[in-house]
Symmetry: D2
Subunit: 470 residues, 4 copies
């Protein structure tokens, strides 16, 4: 079940993955399987059979150049004086350097540069003001860590027969709670029956595939304990009064899977709203609205509905083109080679096309696509991007290229249109984006809008720690 | 360029691939690179650099259980008394057993069971009635082979500085001709410049990516010679008078890439017409037309347009689910697990849905999808299949499961609806399909309709050779 | 140079290996390359080029079932408050469980079960009685660790521009010091010139291959500091008064390479002496003395010289038989299959043979060899083993099978002769072995004999810690 | 059993291997397993289980740069008009080019450049003068091939339930016959019992390991048929009257395993005789005779016995050094690095050493070994080579480097001694070699000496075909 859940989260990280399960009572009874690569390859029947127990945690990890090593695979398991602890972490500690210094000065050696080891070593030692005559007080240790580390993290921490689910007080990274619903015993094989259960996950998109239903999000600062007795909130750590919630808006724009739910709404719906808002902000007279499959489809449908223009497909994707690929010679590149896509020529010929995409990062792919459509006979190609220009790095868990690589730091919209050969190019505004993701939430006070838009505006929640100033 | 072309043909075969190039004059100057796997992996920079010459042929091969061996990779290179010959073959020889017997009785050993070796050995020996005082007469040898082997094949045969492109007299397998257009020398790197050139391919979808334009199809029975002097028809081998052309209709339905052109029309358009025809044949009162991404999308748009119902997305695809995968337990299967897809719940809730797909083969995947949509709140789910029931094996190059595995041989439409949990299920009729693929061709005389529909009707063009009777 | 040295130590461990080098001043300038497998495969040109600096440590690791994981590859690198520390360890901590408990109770998490991590975390924290106002006092920290951990270890610890070489106070595991001799500048390429340098190693056999000369052994309890200024003894930790030195005698018998020097004598010579002693203890009337190549050759030569019998080869080794191999059927096993060896039939026919080997562990291989010799015509085959019966486990770094697997715990010499089909079988006595390894050392007082013979006698130096009692 | 036999022949080729077995009656019932690599890796349990039948042939193939491809793995299987034929070939066809031309002009295509395919296609076609009204006459076809191809080959040809064993009329390549002896049924598992059987092999060294006994060699020109009824000579093809037998003398010198039997004598004995003869031809005053392990050991023992000097070991081999290895810098090479060997210093110090090796090819390894011995204290090092200088290429199956690479074509014995730093260096004479290999054969008329010494003398048996003249 954890494995199926991770398959649904594979888009959040393809570098490595792992699962740790627990037999409960004894602290020695962890089963661990971790490795480099995709879930499908890592978790064959044999690997799954070896994972014993009735609770567990899993993780899929991002591909970042710096630390693509086996030793950094999560969940991170550490042996403590009270038995083994397993930790999985979504996010990035903004003040990791100062946290690191503290741990090292305590006389603890660190064998990796990963945040997970840092969190683990932080939890291994009971703070002075935490009394533990009855055994380890994990919630108190977690609270202590949270007061030292403002963001960004969604965490699961497993010890014996309990899992703690933790979200930082800014709510920067997503984390939601689901309920596993028992199936009708009439049909089920007796061995397969499952009592009621609970699950937490960065995204809800895997819930249906494991027979679970979305219940609610874990609140910013909340520490939830999952055990045989269900779930209960054991603590809520507040953020500073003058600070607003800072949920990563990039999850809506790009990162999350479109069937996930955040704040009670489907990501697909938010993207469709972005397309509608974009049509309002940058309308056009054209024959056809289309998208770069599959990233821009939701927004393109939104644009089409709002504008009243027909939606139609203009590109066909080559399913078999991987990431690493032969470099065509200059001559072939010049031909506007778009080996990833083919043009549906008879749909395009003589048409004025609005092509919608979700975002522009380095700006490398859109030029060849426009060339391809013109070669296939399009008379005009207008680009509409359903998010604002991406301009700033993220220190909270999203892997954004350097400022120099971000095309929006080099060219404005008109220059970019020119550069890629579009007849026009327009972005969604930051205000428009915030409005769009709140469109379906009547109850949200837009003045209190709680989103982290740092990659778009450079305004980091809680400010940037000194160690990160650039 | 050949490599990029093969990437665009990767959907036609993922088991193995190869390229042979020729330096022209000398018969010893073939460069060969072949192997198991996908183009991306086989053809790295080094492999490509080693392929020298200015003409060449390439091939991607199908995954069929029986002969997944390196020795069967194409193109097949054979050394003859007149130098090396390279052959690539799309199709399957229906009378291979009798051809084989003839070759063996001539005292020739065969080291594989592949059709390519058989074709090669047939061409190695000049037939008695072919006089060759001036050197080998390849067109005459090819004609001789064609008279012995009625179908099915599209062939390319390379010798020294010439390539022969051959299509069987029934036109069963596709083959088309394209022109490589020189680019503006002003911008091009001098090394990358390319004079005019010619290309033949099973599908036209790769043409744009290599700077070529679709010219026409190679005609049934035609032998085209490509050389430094351009192309010319050197012979046309007729089929028996009483026989009609028999172009594989399954190429339209399923096999070809949607941006390819056959008979002057785009495959996507033909599929959209199938959807329109389906709406006429099996209309419905519903809230939403959708498709199983991405196979049914063109037909779904056609259905929506014809029926006037709105089109909307209901499924989100997990890009990272490969073919080999963990087997969920019965319990999880029962939950209607569709790990490949997620439901866009807020689009589905309370809706009556028409779900369009291009074909049903074994019928394994549709059930879990329906279950997923119902779990997500759909009130009705109706299945519409944009092709007739698939019931018979193909002996002409398409890898269709055994009759026992084909669900249409076990259940009729109503039984199948029941079996997969649909509110209704309807197929397109054979007549409807033939009509749909001719819809855009005003010039085609429908009475002379020239399609092989053997997998749908059991009527094999030219009859079944004795050796294949079952 | 480190890499070549490790190649010469490959016999000490084939599971994994690693090298860490240091650029000296800055604590961040470690280069690390580790992995599973043999030196030849792990250290290609690229890997070696990346290892920068002018000091470094390396390790090859044993194949033990329990912990064959990448995470356990040595050297172990740990980040401390004073910069990175790299540690390589030969041996096994007999009281690791109590050391582990201490570290955990200090609030430190441990992520592996390896001794190396334990040693590293022990060194990370300055003990209370060590004052460090001028920076870390590594020798004092090492001494502190040594007082807690009696045996068994030879250690190298690298920090910035210094390496500490440490041998436990019992001298259980070997460690020796060598001097790198500058070569004649007249011939040397300028880039290749090397000033004088120093090296420590578990065995001296690699010294010649890196241009070094054997100087002396590191003394039991000695802490040597290697730096730009040469080497100096910074401390000597004493063992309890009533305890004798306990150098592993199994190094002489089996483990070390025959060209290594221990205690001023060549291992080959010690083995030859064992053969001589064996001839005295168990003489025979025979035609030929031979050995199982190549393990018993030195002892066989000794036996031949002492007995006056001729030495001759009787077996030919198949160089290409690896470890994992096809299991012959019972029938073939019965035939006395010895696929690893062939018999030199014409040397064997009609002869009475004394076959000498260095040791018997499980007793599986000798039977088929005897059968092979008899099939080839030998009239008598007598087995002489140049070491006493192996009966007890080792907790100090040698990977000996379980007591149940050791044939000497199941059969005495006569029973074993019967079991393997020998005409007679005799072991060397423990006294004889100790005498033989001291034969060349006039200066050694045999009454103070300082060897660990635990695997032969069950007498563990320092007694067995409670946690290991069985 | 075939697999075990191939393991014993692994030294004859490590590039690829294969086994084909036959179920007998039906020509379709061949099981084939072939691939690149060593027997141990290719033939796991599963592979062996799939090989069905009670007769079969196997092959291990040489690593030659030109043709290291899967397609060249042997045995070669070809389908003929009379069913499948499997062929394995030891040797090289000296007139392959003219044979090739004949086959091609018959209208047969060849897909490889291997001799095996050529032989196969030759056998596929019945020659005009062979009448086959009762089915294929394989012996006649084989005889026909043998009259066209003088040498060099030992062949096994399998068809249905028969195997033909063939040796060329010069007896150039070895081939011998063995009898599989039934074992005592009292002990054998019923399934493992084996009736009497027959085996042919290039060398006899594998016979003991499969329960077989050496019977005799296949005679030059002999065609033996093996079947359910045992073996029988079906034909003997004579060589030209004026030609002598030409058995490859290099098999004795270097290639064969020392426990194999040729012409009634053990290869080890022949090598020992070479050492004796060498001592007679090039005697010395020295302290110790030793060898480069393990290639020169037999000859060194011979030299020691003849000269009366003591034999002793001076080098210790590193078992773990593979072929591909890190390139030491010039500095390290200069140090006389011999990473493959260590010096047994205490055996060498102050000694005058005769170092015997079997042959010198490129002369790269002996220099560093001499340097190593001098570094270890040897006062003199004299090299004695138990074969004549290797100067000419072989076109009959032995992979000898080019003339330019052979050190004997650049330096004479004295120059070479100088070059490698030896005090003296001497080869065995050609006459001495021929005498030595006949020493034990009282019955052989030395005037009729039947050896191919082409690589030593440039005199090719039967002369060189024009196509090979250089």
């Amino acid at each position: 079940m954890i494995c199926l859940g991770l398959v649904a989260l594979q888009h959040r990280g393809q570098e490595s993955a792992g699962i740790v399960t627990s037999l409960g009572k004894s602290s020695k009874n962890f089963s661990v399987h971790k490795g480099m690569g995709m879930i499908n390859n890592l978790f064959n029947d044999e690997a799954i059979r070896k994972l014993k127990g009735n609770l567990g945690i899993g993780h899929t990890r991002y591909s970042t150049a710096a630390a693509s090593e086996v030793v950094n695979c999560q969940p991170f398991v550490v042996h403590t004086a009270h038995g083994a602890l397993a930790i999985a972490h979504n996010g990035e500690l903004v003040n990791c350097e100062s946290l690191r210094r503290e741990v090292l000065e305590r006389g603890v050696g660190l064998s990796t540069h990963s945040d997970s080891e840092l969190i683990a070593q932080s939890l291994c030692c009971a703070p002075e003001d935490v009394s533990e005559h009855d055994g380890p007080n994990w919630p108190a240790r977690i609270r202590h860590f949270m007061t030292l580390a403002p963001l960004s993290y969604s965490l699961v921490v497993m010890h014996k027969d309990k899992i703690y689910a933790v979200r930082d007080s800014y709510g920067n990274r997503p984390l939601c709670l689901g309920k596993i619903v028992p199936v009708d015993a009439g049909h089920a094989n007796i061995n397969d029956q499952l009592a009621e259960g609970w699950v937490v996950s960065s995204e809800s998109c895997g819930f249906l595939s494991i027979g679970a239903r979305y219940v609610r999000e874990v609140e910013p600062g909340e520490i939830i304990e999952l055990s045989r007795n269900g779930y209960r909130t054991v603590d809520i750590v507040e953020r500073p009064d003058y600070k607003r919630m800072a949920f990563c808006i990039f999850e809506y724009v790009y990162f999350a899977r479109s069937d996930s739910m955040f704040e009670g709404q489907m990501v697909y719906s938010a993207r469709l709203q972005c397309g509608r808002q974009l049509a309002r902000e940058s309308p056009l007279d054209a024959d056809l609205v289309s998208s770069v499959p599959e990233s821009g489809t939701a927004a393109a449908h939104g644009y089409a509905r709002e504008s009243g223009l027909p939606f139609g497909e203009v590109l066909c994707k080559n399913r078999y083109v991987g990431r690493t690929f032969i470099q065509p010679s200059t001559r072939l590149r010049q031909l506007g080679v778009a080996k990833k896509f083919g043009a549906l020529a008879q749909n395009v010929e003589g048409k004025r096309i609005v092509l919608v995409d979700d975002s522009i990062v380095r700006g490398n792919t859109i030029g060849p696509i426009i060339k391809l459509l013109r070669d296939a006979g399009a008379t005009e190609v207008h680009i509409r991007i359903a998010s604002p220009p991406l301009q700033y790095p993220c220190y909270m868990g999203i892997n954004i290229p350097t400022r120099e690589e971000l095309i929006a730091n080099k060219l404005n919209a008109d220059q970019l249109a020119d550069h890629v050969g579009a007849d026009s190019l327009a972005y969604l505004s930051v205000e428009g984006l915030v409005k769009a993701v709140q469109m379906n939430k009547a109850h949200v006070n837009p003045l209190k809008a709680g989103y982290c838009t740092a990659c778009l505006t450079g305004e980091y929640p809680g400010g940037l720690p000194e160690e990160l100033s650039w």
